[in-house]
């Protein structure tokens, strides 16, 4: 978190100040929207990938920490002692993973819009699965439940929840790309590919 605060400095430009609040608000609202998945179970957006795509992994980690902390203290949702684990599982891991994978992909082969959104979908799903795995590991480490019991169950249900995560994340990113593509932190496509800009706009 401390490192996130430090690096956050670098990624934070004027336009992103209100954006931090908006992404947090959106993630919070979306986490309330439980959608039904199989067998009397529901899932909700975690939002780490969404936040990371819009803000970069470090600001995203901060936003996720804010959301999860508010949930714990104001809404008695998620434990106080489990706060660190929850921030790690639902926020930081996904945000860093999404940031690294998508950042590398964008640098490596400058995907077009459709490819980028497909990558976002895949990474959203993986981020949920990684969070579920981490949760199982932590439960095993705390002697709550053996890994062999919880991991298959967690991965099974979260494989479905991850699909929901991917759909919502792609819709949201798609909407932002449509109106303000410049606000998509990880989607800095080569300017020439889409909207040609004067060369002077580059170094700013």
């Amino acid at each position: 978190m401390a490192y996130a605060l430090k690096v956050a400095d670098r990624d934070l430009d004027e336009a992103r100040i209100p954006l931090l609040g908006v992404v947090g608000a959106f993630v919070f609202a979306s986490q309330m929207l439980n959608f039904p998945v199989a067998g009397g179970t529901s899932g909700h957006l975690l939002g780490a990938t969404l936040a990371a795509v819009l803000l970069g992994p470090w600001l995203a980690s901060l936003v996720m920490a804010v959301v999860i902390t508010v949930q714990a203290f104001a809404f008695a949702d998620g434990g106080i002692t489990a706060l660190g684990a929850n921030v790690l599982n639902m926020g930081v891991l996904g945000a860093l993973l999404a940031g690294l994978l998508l950042g590398a992909a964008v640098r490596a082969f400058s995907p077009n819009r459709a490819t980028f959104l497909a990558l976002v979908a895949g990474v959203s799903w993986v981020a949920v699965m990684v969070g579920a795995t981490a949760t199982s590991l932590e439960l095993a480490l705390s002697d709550t439940i053996p890994l062999g019991t919880s991991l298959p169950a967690m991965l099974g249900v979260h494989a479905l929840i991850g699909i929901g995560e991917a759909v919502i994340t792609v819709s949201a990113i798609g909407a932002v790309l449509a109106v303000r593509p410049d606000l998509v932190h990880l989607g800095r496509f080569p300017a020439a590919e889409r909207t040609p800009r004067p060369a002077t706009a580059e170094g700013v």
């Binding site: 529901s42 809404f75 434990g79 249900v157």
Partner: protein, 106 residues
Amino acid sequence: MRTNVFVAAALAVAVGLAVAVSPFASASPDGLEKVAEDKGFLAEGTTAKIQEASPIPDYAFPGVENERVATGLAGFVGTLVVFALGFGLAFVLRRVRGRAGPDPAT
């Protein structure tokens, strides 16, 4: 679209979802809750003492009879609180850097 307009629109979407859609969201246990229930470790998760004092426990605005209205109100308040905190955090980070780093304005 100007940034302020974008922010206002996005915030409106978030508040709208929290207020109007969340009361109709699935009430089934979520992924972790379901696994905890099935595997019998749900009861091991307890809320801390301090959380008994949380202003809006379980996303139900206190003193509101209608469950859906209570959830919607909770969503309204929560979304705006998170927005304010996120905005505030970014603002503070910005100020700190402004003082530490080379600032052309000073």
